[in-house]
Subunit: 504 residues, 2 copies
């Protein structure tokens, strides 16, 4: 359908570059706050200066265009500086999960062909243990504001960002199989920010609170949106409910990204207080949210926005707006305008209402995986297979049902663990729940539940099973309950059902 | 500086498509208002239905992929339907200026190789007179809601929009030389909308009032932003100050695009009333705005946003935000984040403070001109020479001084007519003013002024000249004043100084 340009064919079409994001903001927003991070505040001019210095220091250390540079550090100003300084040199950032074991880290360093590993003081031992097992790699410690030492090398400032160039590689915290290195481009981040701005809105006084780890895409997108739009980031080293609430109540935070556990703890800490109207959006990701939590937010007037996203799509695919919660409870909203979203079964697109695999296409989607990960999930026509199950309604609202890989197939019927968990979470005495399949001679597999009870409450197994039987087809009801004190979740708060299967 | 993707090279990189804008909104915003146009309101589902019907009718008439389809019509629902229906068929829209003569229109129809001309009833005679002079061309009348007649042909719905494909050709209302056909792509409109959203902000309750002619880019961008973002357009057939003020006061209009004359007339009509806080932005384009008008807006708390833009850049290049007016009066603001902006003289970039030609690069810039227009203004490195003079300050704020082609060179010194006009407009008895150069044996050229006096006021020529002499270097002072009842401006409100030169 592309209309021929006729005489336009020899014209200069856009070369896919934008003005350098931070460099531009250092001019137009020189004295505006860029980073608010406890110890101190930086304006965009100050951040740009620090990044320029860091880039010269990195260049002096030998970091060059195309190098893969790993970063093992807590959230903090040094992390932000490294993100932009590595990019300014044309190098590719590989942010590492600080909760991994040395063996897991060593595997990622090798898989991504990393040649430099920067770490903060707190993770010196972990970095050393990881690099012990890797071949050629330089390990270097950074200070609280990034690399340290003289900047003997002068570098050419970056005027422009090529959207197709690689920004970084993020290993997904997938619930199954080995971590996969997802390549993300500057364009992925730009389109994600633009799609999100059209979907959620954007105002010049936006102020995002980043508490999610910056080594996950859900944290990192906040940094890029900040320099694209010229709005500040309030950065917390780690999640602390009281500090998070303080930032919302006293520091004019307008947006905050959370997972369900974090939100629940923030509401507990908030008690009978409320959030000011300056808070516009609590972006709630990391897996399906308990209905009770969403209802509680609705009743309290808290602007929660459930979202569905993946590392492979540079965060948001679809997001429900706070004022849509009442009509579409349980949905992850409609797709961002930058994103094509389809439900597919056996290679055929499904009509509204039908369940199938969620597939996604568009300019936020990764160009592919690096290292040993297979590329089967990205088809030649550009569609990404997410491995997640869901359905769309008539109005384009997405309902995510489950990770396909966690499906329990029992007597030929598909059981979605998330659906059973949602029922368990409705029980007044249940705080958290996970459902997995265990092998069964007769049915192939049957569901069992791991349940954490609310403090001080002791429902019986039969009581909880009866509760389920009232609400679920018999085949979906757990065969037994195992009481637990906590459930395994990864750093992003995603339930790790796989780790529950072994004891079954 | 592009980091190599290594294993990524055989991956599926984005193919530059987005989900079809209107088609998407017809699902996610089915029952939201899309068009509010006096006679009736259409939701996005209704607009999409009407566009689908119109596309089938156009296809039945023979309109096909790649055809150049001209439209000669007033603002109205039919115009909106035609814009989207022509696009749905992959054809290229050529919107025509209804104020042109048949000779001028015939020239554009030929230059753009138009094969279909659609017109409304009001412009049947003009269309007939224009096509009389053109060879192969089908002329067809449309009704108030677009083409009429049976839709015998079924067409494949457009799922996706290829950003590099041609949307249309707009002939520029430039102040000098023959009109040039500017090719604009869907990408130009997308990047313009996104850059504007990051610059001005975007909210889901945005509601734009379109009164500028839709055959100019400043009007047309409003239609595209509407379907991209899922927000309604309030469309007026023509500019009427009382109706414009009513829309702002009673119909929750948040944004309105105006030129200085329109704004002044709206303020006159407004009298001692004020605008409600729902009005967030009056985007003021079409040439430098009188300082007195801006100051008046500031004092009255009216959120005016002076902007600098061109057809070739799909409207906005730079825009001053309402809350920046006090600090940067006279500036057109900073560049949109999607736009590179530079001041150049003799091929060299100028530092802040230095005057030179404004040049622009980025994804909002046209891929080129069609027909007979030369492409010299777009360099192989992608920079567009605007022909306008300006300077940037240290913070990246643009000050537009003049159309280069209107420069008066007097005794080797450059005189900017806009600068002299700005002084004349400070005179309390002066309502409007234009300055042009007339040949002079001694100096090469000297400035003279055409002045429209405020109603009922009769300042003497000497009084006005003395006023200038107090504020301008002698060389810049007009040699004489000619009193006029009006000044020639084009449909976009831009001053046509060229038309004033002949009488000199």
């Amino acid at each position: 359908m592309a209309a021929p340009l006729l005489r336009g064919e020899n014209h200069a079409v856009t070369d896919g570059c934008l003005p350098d994001w931070l460099g531009r903001r250092a001019v137009t927003h020189a004295r505006h706050p860029a980073l608010i991070a406890g110890s101190g505040n930086w304006t965009f001019a100050e951040l740009d200066d620090r990044v320029g210095e860091a880039a010269r220091q990195l260049a002096a250390l030998g970091v060059a265009d195309g190098d893969r540079v790993a970063l093992l550090a807590r959230n903090g100003p040094a992390f932000v500086v490294m993100v932009h300084a590595v990019g300014r040199l044309g190098a590719v950032l590989v942010p590492l999960n600080i909760r991994l074991t040395p063996v897991e880290l060593a595997w990622q360093l090798t898989d991504a062909r990393v040649t430099f590993l920067f770490h903060d003081t707190a993770h010196a031992n972990l970095a050393a243990a990881a690099t012990d097992q890797v071949g050629v790699l330089r390990m270097l410690e950074i200070g609280p504001e990034g690399p340290e030492g003289p900047d003997a090398v002068s570098i050419k400032p970056r005027d422009r960002i090529a959207l197709e160039s690689a920004q970084g590689i993020i290993y997904t915290s997938g619930t199954t199989g080995r971590a996969k290195g997802v390549l993300l481009t500057y364009g992925n981040y730009w389109w994600s920010a633009a799609g999100s701005a059209f979907h959620l809105g954007h105002r010049p006084d936006d102020r995002w609170l980043a508490m999610l780890p910056l080594f996950h895409v859900g944290g990192l997108v906040i940094l890029f949106r900040s320099v694209i739009a010229g709005v500040p980031v309030v950065l917390h080293e780690a999640f602390d409910p009281a500090r998070a609430n303080h930032a919302i109540q006293e520091e004019r935070v307008t947006h905050v990204s959370v997972v369900a556990n974090m939100l629940a703890r923030m509401l507990d800490e908030l008690g009978s207080r409320s959030y000011p109207p300056t808070l516009r959006c609590m972006l709630l990701g990391g897996g399906p949210a308990p209905t009770t939590l969403l209802q509680s937010c609705m009743h309290r007037g808290i602007p929660v926005s459930p979202t569905y996203g993946l590392t492979e799509t540079c965060s948001q695919v679809a997001t429900l707006l706070p004022d849509e919660l009442g009509q579409h409870l349980g949905s992850a909203g409609t797709a961002l305008p930058t994103t094509e979203l389809r439900i597919e079964r056996d290679g055929q697109p499904m009509p509204p209402g039908e369940m199938g695999e969620i597939i996604v296409r568009g300019p936020t989607v990764t160009p592919g995986y690096v290292g040993s990960a297979a590329d089967d999930d990205i088809r030649p026509d550009g569609w990404l297979r997410t491995g997640d199950l869901g359905r769309l309604d008539n109005e384009g609202y997405l309902y995510v049902l489950d990770r396909r890989d966690d499906l329990i197939i029992s007597g030929g019927e598909n059981i979605s663990p998330a659906e059973v968990e949602a029922v368990l979470l409705l029980h007044p005495d249940v705080e958290d729940a996970a459902v997995v399949g265990v092998p069964d001679e007769q049915w192939g597999a049957v569901p069992i539940a791991f349940v954490k009870r609310r403090e001080g409450l002791t429902p019986t197994e039969q009581n909880v099973l009866d509760f389920c039987a009232e609400r679920l087809a018999a085949i979906k009801c757990p065969r037994r309950i195992e009481w637990v004190d906590s459930l395994p979740r990864n750093a992003a708060g995603k339930l790790l059902r796989r780790e529950l299967r072994t004891p079954g």
